[in-house]
Symmetry: C2
Subunit: 346 residues, 2 copies
């Protein structure tokens, strides 16, 4: 489509990357210092106080056909389910309870009604599971593809909301489950392989992620996490957000990154790196949380019984400095923000 | 893009129209009867009680390149400004005060940085004017075009929120300003005419609408409107929402529909119908509000001084029955839902 010429020149978003785009937003929408905004840009959810004890949490995510999903291998039911799950995951990362949701559906007018029905049923799966009604939104036509925006509201209690900014030197870094399965699943789907029982967990991780609401709530409720975020862009990038907001650095022990047997098997077979999927792939939608050494034992022992996750796994520790570093056999690599970047040169 | 074959068959959205799509959503997300949802789907904003006296209002709108705007004639600054204005207009229609906003930006990675900067500055215009900080959102790449979703939160006071459902037989129908200017402006832009001072107000109505927050607030505060909605889809469709939610019918007097001199002039010159633009064109973003006969005199006399709008104009009355009807010289036409439909056969 033709565009006003005067705005067609100069550097484009690819040249400045996602961080560059975020800088432009931050210049204009500077972090707000107002009593009615506890947390804004830079958290999984915005936090607005609504009473002496309660806060409103708000998160919103947009999924674009051809970028976040492809309709040639994504059944509409699972697409809807995932769109809702990734938003609930943001509420989980703050230790909140989701309460209401909004759905903005941009659809080509030639989209089959059957597709829309299944999409909506998929969204509704998580809505029913967690009693989160869709109470508004927008329906618009979009000639080129499906664009889905879901906004979820939740509630949290003051002093019991897990932020990105609480990590301190000496704290331990935990993840709630195996990493890299979702990226491996994507590689499988992009390679157009038929479902194979050995790889079932990889397909599932990519197409049908589970928001860790009970885990997030438990960690926040008992104040067990000094900082928390959900694993949407890959450990390298999600951890970078935590260390930046907390003013610290992180060291990941390459040998401790939890990788499933299925993920390792596929990596071997397809000459890929399972560790790279785990660190940079994103979309695992587990929780990444930082724990003081005092609480680490409690996490290791009690968390399995409290929640239904496979982990937790300790993958490293918080240290002085800036950045995210990977320690392996005789090497140390800076992997800060090396996860998924929407506007990166690829 | 290829899509799963099994969902490619059967009727498409064009066959069922926007009302058909909304029915699918309502089947799944049935109107919620819960104490923590006062109003959901079917209002300009969702309404959630947050204290004994206050309610949270939430509205969200998606604008799609090539559908809601074209970048060959829309400067990015005005695009951003309008995207924010249409959301604020929904808060105005409930008589609320906007408090916070969220921005989901889906942009092609080849989009110039200069474009994004101006877009964001345009959004910021209304944010500053009404102290509505952007406190969250999402940035994603979108290969095919710009898709903008803005979500606005606001507050309202219980018992002083204007809904769509309060219109009663005998009430009068008011609009806050001239109708059809935005549609006429669109016709001008689509016809690629150069700006002409005679048509300045038409360009402005299409590219730079003004949310009627002060008017909405005043009407709600003094309980002057029995029902209210903003004029986004055209009088015929917006009024249809009010009569449906209220269980009544509406009669519009064709001779009373307020049409500007500029709009009439363009219609004559381009062999179009100014009345059709006014009734079906949409995007005027004034307020449509219903007033009991007792309050009508007050509205006529005092509103001009209380607010800065050109009207208000009385265009008809609420009667028994169902539907929206246009009365002209010797004719009566059913125009229910004849405004803009995203998925209509065209």
């Amino acid at each position: 489509m033709a565009r006003l010429k005067s705005y067609l020149t100069g550097a484009d978003l690819k040249a400045i990357g996602e961080q560059g785009l975020l800088s432009i937003l931050e210049e204009n929408f500077s972090r707000v210092e107002r009593p009615d905004v506890l947390r804004g840009i830079g958290e999984d959810c915005a936090v607005i106080p609504i009473s002496r004890t309660q806060c409103l949490l708000i998160t919103t995510d947009t999924l674009v056909e051809g970028v976040h999903f492809r309709l040639d291998y994504t059944p509409p039911y699972l697409l809807g389910k995932k769109a809702m799950a990734v938003n609930l995951s943001d509420v989980a990362a703050m230790g909140g309870v989701p309460t209401h949701a909004f759905l903005n559906l941009a659809l080509p007018e030639r989209m089959p009604v059957a597709f829309v029905r299944r999409l909506v049923q998929g969204i509704n799966f998580w809505c029913r599971r967690y009693s989160v009604p869709i109470i508004g939104g927008d329906t618009v036509s979009c000639p080129y593809g499906v664009v889905l925006t879901i906004t979820v509201l939740g509630k949290g209690y003051k002093g019991k909301i897990a932020l990105r900014s609480g990590a301190r030197e000496g704290d331990l870094i935990f993840v709630s489950g195996y990493l890299g399965d979702a990226a491996a699943g994507l590689a499988l789907l992009e390679g157009k392989r038929k479902p194979d029982t050995a790889y079932r967990r990889l397909f599932r991780a990519q197409l049908d992620p589970i928001p860790q609401l009970e885990l997030g709530r438990c960690l926040a409720e008992h104040k067990l996490a000094s900082a928390m975020i959900d694993l949407s862009d890959g450990l390298a990038t999600d951890l970078a957000h935590i260390v930046e907001e907390s003013g610290v650095a992180a060291e990941i022990d390459a040998g401790k990154v939890p990788i499933s047997t299925a993920c390792r098997k596929l990596a071997r077979e397809s000459d890929a790196s399972a560790l790279a999927w785990a660190l940079f792939g994103g979309e695992d939608y587990g929780l990444l949380f930082i724990v003081s050494p005092d609480n680490a034992e409690k996490i290791r022992k009690e968390l399995k019984s409290l929640t239904k996750v496979e982990g937790p796994f300790c993958v490293g520790k918080i240290v002085k400095g800036r950045g995210v570093f990977l320690w392996g056999n005789g090497y140390k690599k800076d992997i800060t923000h090396k996860g998924y970047d929407h506007f990166a040169k690829r």
